[in-house]
């Protein structure tokens, strides 16, 4: 029998590192933190049982340094590495390197990561597994003729995407025929610059889609289940802002179908561990495989709350070679959960990141509220990494209760010292489109004016703000004056003493 994991190195930082260490602690597993120069005071360093410095602040010189991280794992005697999300989490080479070093990588095999990482290969694999994909090519576009012919078959509008892609790079939307060839050339050259690979492919463009993803868990013995969907359509610049489960547009029939496809997709790459199958869904609930994230997602807590499963513990159990402790029929969605991502950003200034020092923090507590964060009073958010401060997750018996609870939690959540997206999120929770559950990925841009509007407050509010500043300033002045007058007093006494002394000296 395999030796059980006793010590886990968490190759990440911030909230996700702390979140992973929490589950380790509950399992009696020791945790090892790694940190860059900027992160000496980060909570994940303080929370871990052990902590090791791995390099300068830029992630390329620390959190992305495979050699260094594997070296620390060996030095500290960690049996396993959890990559979190981002950084090395979807790096097939790192998964392989861990294996070679005799360290368990808590995540899928290099094969599963690389198959799903290359978009054209992933599309082909999914088609072979019978999973619906967005209409388009399964080959890379090698000639203008091929592009024109394919687009004619698929019908405009289409997207050209880089096979190695991600983050919107090497991507072009084409609405008119005349734009096809320029867009193709642009996408290829951008893909080459960004990824060193100019392979692109063509997909039908789905207008106003919903982003719906399915959480899956698969063990090393061929068992796989899905933990239902997450609705992730509230996005800004392809960045998720709010997620919820169940999706307000889902039906039991479509859920069962999509869930079965998600499991089939995972099985098609012999997947093991936790993963997410992303679909795009149109208003008529037609759904298409978009991509697979072969790691833990930022938004996994809403699934944990509604399904009652600790996904990180399941990842560790799977890595330990255990058989999944439940089958699909055991799993149920109970109630409704919503997650808001709290960013250090200036929503009134084009959502510019706003790092800085936390002066005061009051965290929301009470019934149905989970808060996954890592900052504390006096902590300085560094400029080198993601501006996410924390994730606020609420649960309610119904979607309505969950929204009301999120509003309550956001109202209670106070941070001073950095600007945050808290008020922007409050306005999302109040917007009619969100409240009735009628929204797609264009929600934020369609509602931007409303979401950025000032909250209402009577004139007293402004006057009370003025009075508070007035009193704070007056008290400060008083203190300065006291200090000054005490200094004068002492000065006076001093002077007399010296007078006397000098008198003595003169004798």
């Amino acid at each position: 029998m395999q030796k059980m994991i006793k010590k886990v190195l968490v190759a990440n930082r911030g909230e996700i590192a702390v979140r992973i260490m929490r589950s380790c602690r509950e399992m009696g597993i020791q945790s090892v933190a790694v940190f860059s120069e900027a992160d000496r005071t980060s909570m994940h360093v303080r929370y871990a049982d052990e902590a090791y410095y791995i390099g300068p602040s830029p992630s390329a010189e620390s959190y992305l340094k495979m050699d260094k991280i594997i070296e620390v794992a060996k030095l500290s005697g960690a049996d396993a590495i959890h990559p979190g999300y981002g950084f090395l989490s979807e790096n097939a080479k790192f998964s392989a390197r861990c294996g070679e070093a005799g360290i368990i990588f808590i995540g899928p095999s290099p094969f599963a990561i690389s198959t799903m990482g290359d978009k054209i290969t992933a599309r082909k694999t999914m088609i072979a597994a019978g999973v619906p994909v967005v209409p388009g090519t399964t080959e890379k576009v090698t000639s203008d003729e091929f592009a024109l012919k394919t687009i004619k078959e698929v019908g405009l509008p289409v997207m050209i995407k880089a096979s190695a892609g991600g983050g919107g790079k090497g991507m072009r939307l084409i609405r008119e025929e005349k734009d096809i060839l320029p867009a193709l050339r642009g996408a290829k050259s951008e893909a080459m610059t960004a990824f060193g690979d100019d392979a692109v492919y063509i997909e039908k463009y789905i207008d106003s889609p919903h982003h719906i993803e399915f959480q899956i868990l698969a063990d090393k013995h061929g068992n796989a289940v899905h933990l239902f969907e997450r609705e992730c359509s509230v996005q800004r610049r392809h960045q998720k802002v709010v997620e919820e489960t169940p999706s307000p547009i889902m039906t039991p029939k479509v859920r069962a179908e999509m869930g079965a496809y998600a499991v089939a997709a995972a099985k098609a790459v012999n997947y093991d561990g936790a993963g997410t199958i992303e679909f795009i869904v149109d208003d008529n609930l037609n759904y298409y495989f978009l991509e697979m994230n072969t790691r833990l997602q930022v938004e996994h807590p809403i699934t944990e709350r509604v399904v009652g499963v600790d996904i990180v513990k399941e990842q560790i159990n799977i890595a330990n070679g255990k058989v999944l402790s439940f089958v699909q029929e055991n799993l149920k969605q109970s109630g409704h959960a919503i997650e808001c991502r709290i960013y250090a950003e200036d929503t009134d200034n084009n959502f510019m990141p706003n790092p800085g020092t936390i002066k005061h923090i009051q965290e929301p507590l009470g019934l149905g509220v989970r808060h996954d964060g890592y900052v504390y009073e006096g902590y300085t958010i560094p400029i080198y990494y993601d501006p996410m401060i924390s994730k606020l997750i609420v649960w309610g018996q119904t979607r309505g209760e969950a929204i009301a609870r999120m509003r309550r939690a956001l109202y209670e959540y106070k941070i001073t010292g950095v600007k945050t997206s808290i008020k922007f999120l409050e306005r999302i929770m109040e917007s009619p489109d969100f409240c009735i559950g009628n929204y797609n990925t264009h929600f934020i841009e369609n509602n931007l004016e409303r979401l950025l509007a000032d909250s209402e407050c009577d004139l007293n509010c402004e006057d009370i703000a003025l009075i508070s500043a007035f009193i704070e300033y007056s008290d400060k002045l008083d203190k300065v004056k006291q200090t000054v007058s005490m200094a004068t007093l002492r000065h006076g006494a001093d002077w007399k003493a010296r007078g006397r002394r000098s008198g003595v000296n003169r004798l």
Partner: protein, 169 residues
């Protein structure tokens, strides 16, 4: 105690009329407020006015006379106007135009690229500097046409928030 305070376009005259412990009487532009106001933690006040309970958070600004004040629903940038600041204001008013067109960063970050040098003529909307922070690059553009007077940073510099990076006249 009397002071003028500025919030947005409004300049309000405040006067402390009475203070007994946390019970205050304050006049704001002639309107009398009877308040129960207590500092509960560093920078945090609890205010009760006419039975209503307000939490007010105060963050010191760039100078000792600037505060960012948060009530539950809104944030206010407030400035204390005393004799000294009135004097400074008068002195500065001459070159306020220059200040407006200069480029400063609202957040700490790292200078990625500088696209102009002193003496360059710039057009409105022209990008003059790129700063990166938290995985995002921001392009800073000129608001009005002008001429680059000075560049105070160089590529690779770490800059603090609210620093003037490029002066344009």
């Amino acid at each position: 105690m009397k002071l003028d305070l500025k919030v947005k376009d409004r300049t309000a005259a405040l006067e402390l009329i009475k203070k007994e412990g946390n019970i205050l009487k304050v006049s704001v532009d002639g309107k009398i407020y009877d308040l129960d106001m207590i500092k509960v933690a560093q920078g945090i006040y609890s205010v009760i006015y006419n039975g209503k309970s307000y939490n007010v958070e105060m963050v010191p600004g760039n100078s000792t006379k600037h505060y960012l004040v948060n009530t539950f629903y809104r944030s206010y940038q407030i400035e204390i106007i005393d004799a000294e600041s009135k004097y400074m204001k008068n002195r500065k008013s001459g070159d306020s135009h220059l200040g407006e067109n200069s480029i400063s960063t609202p957040m700490p970050g790292k200078v990625v690229k500088i696209l102009v040098k002193p003496g360059d003529e710039v057009e409105a909307g022209q990008t003059v500097i790129i700063v990166s922070a938290m995985k995002m690059e921001s392009e800073f553009k000129v608001r009005k046409p002008g001429k680059v007077k000075a560049v105070h940073v160089k590529e690779g510099d770490l800059v603090e928030g609210n620093k003037v990076m490029i002066e344009i006249e």
